[in-house]
Amino acid sequence: MNRWSLLSLAVCGVVALPTLGVLGSVFMPGGEEWRHLVETRLGTYTRNSLWLVLIVCTAAAVIGTAAAWVVTAFDFPGRRLLYWALLLPLAVPAYLSAYALTDLFQFSGPVQTALRETFGWSRRDYWFPEVRSLGGAAAILTFSLYPYVYLAARTAFVEQSSGALEVARTLGRGPWRGFFTLALPLARPSIAAGTLLVAMETLADFGAVDYCAVDTFALGVYRTWRSLESPVTAAQLSAVLLSVVALLVFAELLARRRARFFQLTTRRQPVRRQRLGAWGSVAALLVCGLPVALGFGLPAGVFVHMAWTTGDARAWEVVRDFTGNSVGLAAAASALAATLALVVVYGRRLGGGVVNAVAGRVAGLGYALPGTVIAIGLLIPLTWVDHRLNAAADAAFGWRPGLILTGGVAAVVLGYQCRFLGVALAMLDASLGRVRPTLDDAARTLGATRLRMVLRVHLPLLRSSVAAAVLLVFVDVVKELPVTLMLRPFNFETLAVRVYQLASDERLEESAFGALVIIGVGLLPVVILSRLIDRHGRGRTS
């Protein structure tokens, strides 16, 4: 075992800590609370989580795939804009969508009020869907998560494109039959992988289901911790959720493997898109435009309108007082994540061996863990360590240092590593993979030590990817809600936490500027992501 393996294992251990904490809780006495939970809430959690995952995955798969097919196979006015605009909902965290859409569509909201005024209706004269319900939460999550499917499906369609589809055309299959007999089956593994990501995010969601009062497992973990004040019971609940997530991760892995296998050629020609007529264009604009409008346009618009009409000094205070905390936390967490990710990818590159490979895999799996599970899984072992430290210090020096890990920001930053290290890893892994191994060999035979090789050859080549990794984690941290909410030090609030509290207190107007800052920050990776994909695509085809 070399130095790299030890370092990789250490990083891997950090990410695995919450899982171990949760699994450890299974062997702790659950007692009265667990029995109570099983009798009263477990059925609801299971039912809600299942329905939510089922509806959101189905809807997101259909919407994402349809939009991806339309923008790759057809030409219509606005196609180029929608091609990347369909990714915009990624900038709006689901909880912000929930706040905005509820505000817009609730009984006292502008839409229903306008309907009543226009038609002279009163409360009993009409039916209107309730946003704060299972269906509402499902719709909100669908329109905020479909981009995962869209991106996966679009990549698959672009990759298979010309070759197979043109063969199909020459064999007498029109674009529609070509889609169902060829394009869709070939893209299925990619779509499945994207849909499984949607399933994980749905199970992990905290803010939207909390606001819509749909008790899912992830929310149940938080409720159990808050109201029952029983971390062990919350962790046991997490263990149930964790086993479902593990299945999803495994399924996603299989889907990805099949997706690679289904990739037909490495040589690609740009697709020849079919030009649509007037009605076709309208249909295409609806299929691609509605998801963007509901997932990005409406929520962002509501906050802009709110900031414009009711924005006052108090709304600015939110931004002034809490942006610093958010930025500080995000900067620390993203710098750490990039460093840890570098350790892991270099372990695999330079150290080699099974240990480094497995450690890298495990370190990347945290993205699948719901934030509430990570928080609970960390709280138990960290609290234990804190108490031990205090007891030891007390015994040795008669002095108690206080809660070093759980009392400060250390626990939150650690929680972010568990959740977001995978993001940094994926970024660096891909770009280090593009640095040909012969460059390493050339540097070594030219007299460079490993250190000099890393400094003079790798880092200059990786610079932009390291920056991208830092940025992606930074943005994710700014948007993050449950980990921050549960692991933050007492009286320490970030922008996201403040917005959450204001929304819970029905003081949404005050949060408008804060929400807009979060959405604005969230736009950065969307822009970068689409530029990266474009560059990558061009590089492959040229």
């Binding site: 012969t438 060999d441 050339a442 070594r444 035979t445 030219l446 007299g447 460079a448």
Partner: protein
């Protein structure tokens, strides 16, 4: 060392060099090889015969499981007991994909191996001149053609004044019409500098045309060695080679 002097005493000696990747099968088995100063030796074999791995062992990029590699008076490898890291070996290598650093100019690529020499810039320009690339110092690698990149790669490998140059099929990426000329020029430059050359190839014609001595590798072992004249049955004209060239000197090797 200048060409001609002491040319009978071996420069590079391999004795019983054996290697496997991890616990996999043997890739190089019990190879003996001798290279004299300024000699051009071709290692001929199909892909997977272990010839590229043998070069990596000599460069120090892999560690032999057994056997000795000696360069002049220095023992570079002695089984697992002694292993000089690649950066401390006076061995240059030119790779099949040239492996130019994409973020450095041509001049800085060539100067990469010169360390902190104060005259690195002038020396890099001098080497570029010798490979016929004067004036390309400020160009970026991706703007060069394949043949130009190959010359830069040779100049770069010469920058650290190696005593042995390892060429890992460095001409196979080039256009067929260009290949013969670039190869002749490259080997001339290396011969002038008195550097011994170990060249890996899967093309019998290339080996016969340019090497002083050659060995044939098969399944990780050297199965036959000698001069091109000894290893080649001439007179028959056939089509061979990846591009279907017709009519070379050596059509059939004396080897089972």
């Amino acid at each position: 060392m200048t060409p001609g002097t002491d040319s009978n005493s071996p420069l590079l000696e391999l004795e019983g060099v054996t290697f496997a990747y991890g616990r996999g099968p043997r890739v190089v088995g019990d190879v003996d090889l001798t290279l004299r100063p300024a000699e051009v030796h071709a290692l001929l074999g199909d892909s997977g015969s272990g010839k590229s791995t043998l070069l990596r062992l000599i460069a120090g990029l892999e560690r032999p499981d057994a056997g000795r590699i000696v360069l002049g008076d220095d023992v570079l490898d002695d089984g697992p007991r002694r292993n000089v890291p690649p950066e401390r070996r006076p061995v240059g290598m030119v790779f099949q994909d040239f492996a130019l650093f994409p973020h450095l100019t041509v001049r800085r690529n060539v100067a990469f191996g010169m360390g902190r020499r104060p005259d690195a810039r002038a020396e890099a320009d001098r080497l570029l001149g010798r490979v016929g690339m004067t004036g390309f110092g400020d160009a970026m690698p991706h703007t060069l053609s394949g043949g130009q990149q190959q010359r830069v790669a040779v100049a770069r490998a010469m920058g650290q004044e190696p005593r042995v140059m390892l060429l890992d099929e460095p001409f196979s990426g080039l256009d067929a019409t260009l290949r013969d000329r670039v190869r002749a020029e490259t080997l001339a430059v290396l011969r002038d500098a008195g550097v011994a050359v170990l060249m890996v190839t899967h093309d019998p014609r290339e080996a016969v045309q340019s090497a002083d001595t050659m060995s044939i590798m098969r399944g990780g072992r050297i199965t036959r060695r000698g001069t091109p004249g000894e290893l080649c049955r001439k007179r028959r004209v056939e089509t061979a080679g990846p591009n279907g060239e017709v009519g070379f000197d050596c059509i059939e090797l004396i080897d089972g």
